[in-house]
Symmetry: C2
Subunit: 284 residues, 2 copies
Amino acid sequence: MALILKGAPVAAAMTEKMKTRSDALRARGIVPTLAILRVGARDDDLSYERGAMKRAEKAGIDVRNEVLPADADEGTFFGTLEKLNNDPGVHGILMFRPLPKHLDGEKARKMLAPAKDVDGCTDGSLAGVFTNTRLGFPPCTAEAAMEILHYYNIPVSGKKAAVIGRSLVIGRPVAMMLMHENATVTICHTRTPDVPAVTREADIVIAASGQMRSVGAEYLAAGQTVVDVGIGWSEELQKLCGDVRYEEAEELVAALTPVPGGVGAVTTAVLCRHVIEAAERSML
Amino acid sequence: MALILKGAPVAAAMTEKMKTRSDALRARGIVPTLAILRVGARDDDLSYERGAMKRAEKAGIDVRNEVLPADADEGTFFGTLEKLNNDPGVHGILMFRPLPKHLDGEKARKMLAPAKDVDGCTDGSLAGVFTNTRLGFPPCTAEAAMEILHYYNIPVSGKKAAVIGRSLVIGRPVAMMLMHENATVTICHTRTPDVPAVTREADIVIAASGQMRSVGAEYLAAGQTVVDVGIGWSEELQKLCGDVRYEEAEELVAALTPVPGGVGAVTTAVLCRHVIEAAERSML
């Protein structure tokens, strides 16, 4: 049976350290502050927002909610974004995306101040992930996957890692982060003819294709660590599921993140740590 | 015996197409212009500069040489760079690096106008390579390797590629470019325990570690395409050599770039095409 790599203790350990840092900032008169910019009220956004706000409170971070109606016009939206960009009291901005269709999401992404891009979506943040410099911040989910490996002392350097998925929010950045820590990384995607042949050979498998329950026993091997980044509702099983067929993986591999309660539980802690880092950088 | 993937016909075909585009630009009153900013007179720089100037002439591109003495002070250097950044008659800037130690190379890289970064060294260009958008320009050597594969109709999509080396000028960008064309890419580096085991399984091997003659028969297999990005002078053999032990590879693989006369012969053509593209973009 696999060791279950739960996210909660990872997030708790991170939060404890964050509290010390936010206390130190507050003692110097700086209140680390996250602005959450939401247009409309999608269920996914609301759920993530609740999690982020709870985590922020524990970490000693103030949250400013900027909520616009789903039909907010361009002027209102970009005016709000610009106001947050320019407000020295706001250290990080979480801008929920995708935006409604009538708002230009690409323009918004380019306008977002790189120094406040705690969610890692700007070109500056992505260049930082690619070049291994702390320009902006890495995408939170990718960093959350790395945090779990670190917390549970899973060796990365010199190991083989296989990443399934090449998205900009998780697949590509986590591949780079694994490589920066000296893993030998292979990125698999929809055009890879034989994904299981690649993943079976890896020490670490990051399942991040977004294809629910697509990764079963035939993809896996004994001794592996499997990080499941997917999450979605299975109508068939009537529960939240990841990209991995959990019951098959659990029998076979050495260590495995659960869904829910794995990577997702760490993502908001990473977001909050970015806010604190942004606040600390703002003093330099 | 391997098919020898010479660079000269690739560069010639590219140049012919470039000439048409530069003629069209000139007909509209725009003279595509490359500024070469060189501090001092290193042999490597002079040799590349000669190659770039010859290629530019054939491609219908004007070259402006900005040569500063090796002991040029900060004010002179950054003043020159700023002048080139702001000059609408300059479409691309090739800034030879590394700069002498008394000049801040990182500051210079950050100051270079991304729109004129035809050598692909700014964060904007690197973000473009990572995100697969045409922000700035990819590093020339990485794109030259891809051009050779394209010219000789080497299939990339669905194939396995192994990249040896993870530098920002070639390893990482060429890995991303191969992945954007749907190859399944593994990046090997100094901390990969068994590089030959990875490269032997690949359809395409990019040798870009900068370790002269380090890649021999034990790294390779029949049927492969091998692109050798290295170049250096071997005292032992008294000739220019790449990262691949050519005589061993030639016996074994399906196709192979020579050194010299392979990737290096295409790099200046890519540089020139970037200048033309920058000039075309300047009209938008």
